[in-house]
């Protein structure tokens, strides 16, 4: 898996895209076996042994794929989920009901999703990326229409045990579609203005629909996630610099325009900004959450107050203590050491994504994993940043910890895709 091995590799005559090595979809079986046999005459056939030896360079098949998952990554995901269940148990005042038990069922379901998505070849997921994206757009519009005509302001579809928000699935569908686009597009064209437009449209159309729901937080996440893939694909840094400059200019103008006749935002929106920068201005309004959250975090200290002993999070009436503000309970009861451990788990997961992307020979897989990793990164940094008072309060859950159905399902799909890219990587 080191960089540069590609030159020694036999090329895949059956690949469709300009870059991809789509495993052996079209390669005759006999040829494949022959190649392998001649190269590695003493290859061990027993899958388990192969797994141990890691010398087998062929792609696993059937159930043996399970053995070829990246179990280190799985272990990280499972331990983060276990921490999540413990916190939800504590938030409910030491009870499985109502959150921890429901979340445990979702985790079990999520695990099944990861396994199913992982054993399906990544080229299949690439093949359905565009239909999936179009379907997700359709779903967004459908929900929008139904929401207008008769079902009230519903933004979700109820499957009984879990409510699904199409906007959540849009995040994954967008990353898949953009990765497919840049896998198809030749490298010289990546930074040409004309070829920048389709991906921008692909990002902005769903973002606008979601913003219109209205769900500004998710919309911003979708845009940011899309930009991640464009960045990874090699779109010229100049564009990003221009974007950053434009954003800075807009912010500056917004701040400058306050009180003048060109004032951009409403007064109350400025107030909200003020309280974000200084929560003590409004300790019982919008600053209330942040103040309480900081007090809870701060009183955790090195080792925390102990399991089920978090007075702040247990006593206070933080309405999102089991969803968006779950980290406060975690950090208050378990303290700095465990808080850092959770951050480290997230960090290692991201590290794995980057290393995989760099070493993978499949451009689609690389972009997909970087995009999904980026999405995951946005989730937890925005959530933690918000809880710690670094970012304004927006509704973003903490991955694997927060209570919630859609987020769990989407994370499971995302990590299933990452595992699929891993299992079906070109060897």
């Amino acid at each position: 898996m080191c960089f540069g091995r590609s030159r020694r590799r036999e090329r895949d005559p059956g690949r469709e895209s300009e870059f991809g090595r789509h495993s052996r979809r079209l390669r005759p079986a006999s040829l494949a076996t022959g190649t392998r046999a001649s190269r590695f005459p003493q290859a061990v056939r027993v899958d388990f042994m192969a797994y141990i030896a890691k010398s087998e360079k062929s792609e696993p098949t059937g159930f043996s794929k399970i053995l070829h998952l990246n179990w280190g990554l799985m272990l990280l995901v499972l331990s983060a989920s276990a921490l999540g269940l413990i916190v939800l148990y504590s938030v409910a005042g030491g009870s499985w009901h109502p959150w921890a038990s429901a979340q445990a069922i979702r985790f079990a379901f999520g695990l099944a999703i990861i396994l199913v998505v992982a054993v399906v070849p990544v080229w299949f997921w690439q093949g359905i990326a565009v239909p999936t994206y179009i379907g997700a757009i359709g779903f967004l519009i459908l929900v929008e229409l139904l929401g207008v005509t008769g079902m009230g302001a519903r933004r979700w579809i109820d499957l009984g045990f879990v409510r699904l928000q199409p906007s959540e699935f849009m995040k994954v569908a967008l990353v898949m579609a953009l990765a497919t686009y840049y896998d198809w597009l030749s490298l010289e064209k990546v930074s040409r203005p004309l070829w920048i437009l389709p991906p921008l449209a692909m990002i902005l159309i769903p973002a606008e629909i979601i913003r219109n729901q209205p769900d500004l937080g998710t919309s911003v996440l979708v845009v940011a996630g899309g930009l991640f893939v464009m960045f990874a694909a090699g779109v010229s840094l100049l564009y990003f610099a221009a974007l950053a400059a434009a954003a800075a200019a807009i912010v500056a103008f917004v701040i400058w325009s306050r009180g003048t006749e060109w004032q951009v935002l409403k007064d109350y929106q400025y107030k909200r900004l003020d309280t974000f920068f200084d929560p003590s201005l409004d300790p019982f309004g919008s600053g209330y959450h942040i103040t309480q959250s900081k007090i809870a975090l701060g009183s955790g200290g090195w080792s925390g107050r102990g399991f089920l002993q978090g007075t702040q999070s247990q006593l206070n009436f933080l309405p999102e203590k089991h969803t968006d503000f779950v980290f406060t309970t975690f950090a208050e009861e378990f303290g700095f050491v465990w808080g850092m451990l959770l951050i480290a788990i997230y960090g290692i997961i991201l590290g794995y994504c980057v290393v995989f992307a760099i070493t993978s020979r499949n451009r689609y897989s690389s972009l997909l994993v970087l995009g999904l990793g980026g999405m995951f990164f946005l989730y937890f940094t925005i959530n933690m940043g918000m809880v710690m008072g670094l970012l304004p309060v927006v509704g973003v859950p903490l991955p694997f910890i927060s209570y919630g159905g859609s987020a769990t399902m989407v994370l499971a799909i995302a990590f299933g895709l990452i595992q699929s890219a891993h299992v079906h990587r070109a060897r």
């Binding site: 090699g234 019982f284 809870a296 701060g298 200290g301 006593l315 206070n316 700095f336 020979r361």
Partner: protein, 646 residues
């Protein structure tokens, strides 16, 4: 091929570069997060911990006062009593046993209660308040409040408990409140944070449950700064709670009390009285009853067992129990036949005591038969053969359609969760529920209100009111919520006035013709004449064997196999104002057990006081006088009206 290889290489170089940039960015972000966490949890830890301990902001829900329930005259039926209790928080008390000792000098804490409370305080998490004294009086409350600086961790709070001044009379109708249980919490449509408040009470049965959301009110929020001892230092913000709306019911508590008292001697039964003009329920009684105050203030297992020993006393019979309506159902069959044009008033049917249909013998209640009976006489003397014949001609579909039009088999829209729909059976119903085909015998049984037909007392009362008025009277129980009055608009029933008049004539003859089934329960005062219909509904089949041996007398049967006694009627006969139904469970014959009760109740409701003796036939007055003397009823007491706020 080589070009492709180059491209892959270029792509990988680009991804590697960008990947490293991304990694660097992500690492930086994680670094910022980690550093912020370090600053919050380590550098500023003591500062925040102080904030948490010393000056924390506590948000407290304020429980709204529950709406009261009044009767139509403004007499309170469900009231709130202010109650004070003392709480202790272990974390703030420190040495809580010492605090309990100090507290014991002010209020009385028996040693066994003290031991139990210490156990409870130890078991609860340190910051959860524990009630150490429930329902202390105001002086004790004031003393504890005044001394609270020296009693660390204690606080005195006031709350409400529900009382029912007319306890037993309204036990089923108004129901009772109780503490929130897990079933209440799972109701998805009701996610009120109040349900999480310890000791919060919600309606469990009757009107209390049916109108719980109206009565409950909205919680208020108090944000207060508390110091290290849990003492409120300063109120920062407050949204007052909104008390629940008061409800005025259409019932009359004196009438309800009278009906209840009049039924004191029967083991089980039910009665319903309606205002025919508005459909307002004036009284709704189920016997046996129980004391709802026992539930509201927390019932002991022993008390609960006692209630359970009475014959299903918790069942709200008047709206819940479906009885076979028996002969009171004959008006339905009669009207169905008139509408279908299956009979003329003068057409006579011969009753010889029994008829045969599809190889089965169907008997009349009078073994010797009625001879030749016409329409009016068939109702007055309740001839079964006549109605078997009608039912066979008309068919079950028309009969049950008419039953539903008159209110039987219809679930009325009343805020009483126990309410049931009864049953006006159809062929489809039997096929579906019993998986067997409808037979002609089923139709015949249904024609006299037996078999599958089932009706609640309230439904029979509505049927009576509809027949008496010719309008689609809808029962109402709530007269006013807060200050908005309920309106009554009553549509005509759409039945021929001449048919109804003929049926009413039959019902008049029931009571006022010397051959009528309820002649013994007649009235003689001109303006207090009543009309009605008796019913005696079998709850078992009489076998041919039993018939041969001679029909067993009801009194010789065990109680639970005896016939139900029913009577439905209205007063005054010429200008109907009030409809009543009395059902005596296993009471024997309707004319003996139910009709006299219904007569008294109708007169009482119409004249508004204990029935005058002049209304009764002279021969009965002595007995009535004796019976009235024994009756234990409330008299009008102006004092009870004082607290009306509605």
């Amino acid at each position: 091929m080589i070009r492709d290889e180059e491209k892959i290489h270029k792509s990988r170089r680009m991804i590697a570069r960008r990947g490293i940039l991304i990694a660097a960015g992500q690492l930086a972000a994680i670094g910022i997060l980690a550093d912020k966490l370090r600053v919050l949890q380590l550098t500023q830890a003591s500062e925040y911990r102080n904030l948490a301990e010393k000056n924390r902001i506590s948000v407290r829900l304020m429980v709204p006062e529950r709406g009261r329930i009044f009767d139509r005259n403004g007499v309170v039926l469900a009231d709130n009593r202010q109650l004070y209790r003392i709480l202790i928080i272990r974390e703030e008390a420190g040495d809580f046993e010492a605090v309990l000792d100090d507290l014991g000098k002010i209020i009385d804490i028996p040693p066994d209660v003290r031991a139990k409370k210490i156990e409870e305080i130890k078991n609860r998490r340190s910051f959860v308040p524990v009630v150490v004294a429930e329902d202390v009086d105001w002086n004790e409350f004031a003393a504890v409040s005044a001394n609270s600086p020296s009693l660390r961790g204690t606080s005195a709070e006031s709350g409400y408990s529900r009382i029912y001044p007319h306890g037993r009379d309204f036990a089923h109708l108004i129901g009772y409140v109780g503490s929130v249980d897990s079933r209440d919490r799972l109701r998805p449509e009701d996610r009120d944070p109040l349900l999480e408040v310890p000791d919060f009470s919600i309606g469990k049965t009757g009107i209390e449950a049916g109108m719980d959301l109206t009565l409950r009110g909205k919680s208020g929020i108090r944000k207060i700064e508390v110091n290290a001892y849990g003492k409120a230092m300063r109120e920062i913000d407050r949204t007052d709670s909104v008390p629940g709306d008061n409800i005025v019911l259409s019932v009359d508590h004196l009438l309800q009390n009278y009906v209840h008292a009049r039924m004191q001697e029967i083991a089980a039964g039910t009665a319903a009285l309606l205002d025919i003009e508005t459909g307002e329920v004036l009284a709704l009684v189920s016997r046996p009853g129980f004391d709802p105050n026992k539930f509201a203030s927390g019932i002991t297992q022993k008390e609960f067992d006692e209630i359970l020993q009475l014959k299903s006393s918790l069942v709200s019979r008047s709206v819940r129990s479906g009885y076979p309506p028996g002969s009171t159902f004959k008006m339905v069959t009669a009207l169905a036949a008139l509408e279908a044009g299956a009979i003329s008033y003068s057409e006579k049917v011969f009753c010889g005591g029994s008829i045969e249909s599809s190889n089965r013998k169907f008997h009349c209640w009078r073994r010797g038969g009625h001879g030749r009976v016409d329409f009016v006489r068939s109702i007055a003397e309740s001839c079964d053969i006549y109605f078997y014949t009608l039912a066979e001609k008309v068919g079950i579909d028309r009969i049950s359609a008419m039953a539903r039009r008159l209110g039987i088999g219809v679930k009325f829209d009343l805020p009483i969760p126990e309410i049931s729909a009864g049953l006006a059976p159809t062929k489809e119903w039997k096929l579906q529920m019993r998986s067997s085909a409808w037979t002609i015998g089923d139709t015949l049984n249904a024609g006299i209100g037996q078999g599958f037909v089932s009706a609640t007392a309230l439904q029979i009362a509505v049927m009576t009111a509809r027949i008496a008025s010719g309008r689609a009277v809808e029962p109402k129980i709530v007269k006013r919520i807060g200050s908005s009055e309920n309106d009554h608009s009553v549509e005509p029933l759409g039945l021929g006035e001449s048919w109804l008049a003929k049926v009413r004539t039959g019902m008049f003859e029931v009571v006022n013709n010397s051959k009528g089934t309820a002649f013994k329960s007649r009235t003689v005062q001109k303006n207090l004449l009543i009309a009605g219909k008796t019913g005696t509904s079998q709850i078992r089949n009489i076998t041919a064997e039993e018939r041969r041996r001679g029909v067993v007398r009801n009194e010789d049967l065990p109680w639970e196999r005896r016939d139900h006694a029913l009577f439905c009627g209205y007063i005054p006969a010429d200008d109907p104002k009030i409809a009543a139904v009395v059902i005596v469970d296993h009471g024997g014959s309707g004319s003996e057990a139910a009709a006299p009760l219904a007569r008294d109740m109708l007169i009482r409701a119409h004249v508004g006081e204990i029935p005058p003796l002049s209304a009764y036939p002279e021969s009965q007055r002595e007995e009535i006088r004796r019976q009235q003397g024994n009756l234990n009823v409330l008299r009008q007491k102006p004092a009870t009206r004082a607290r009306s706020r509605a």
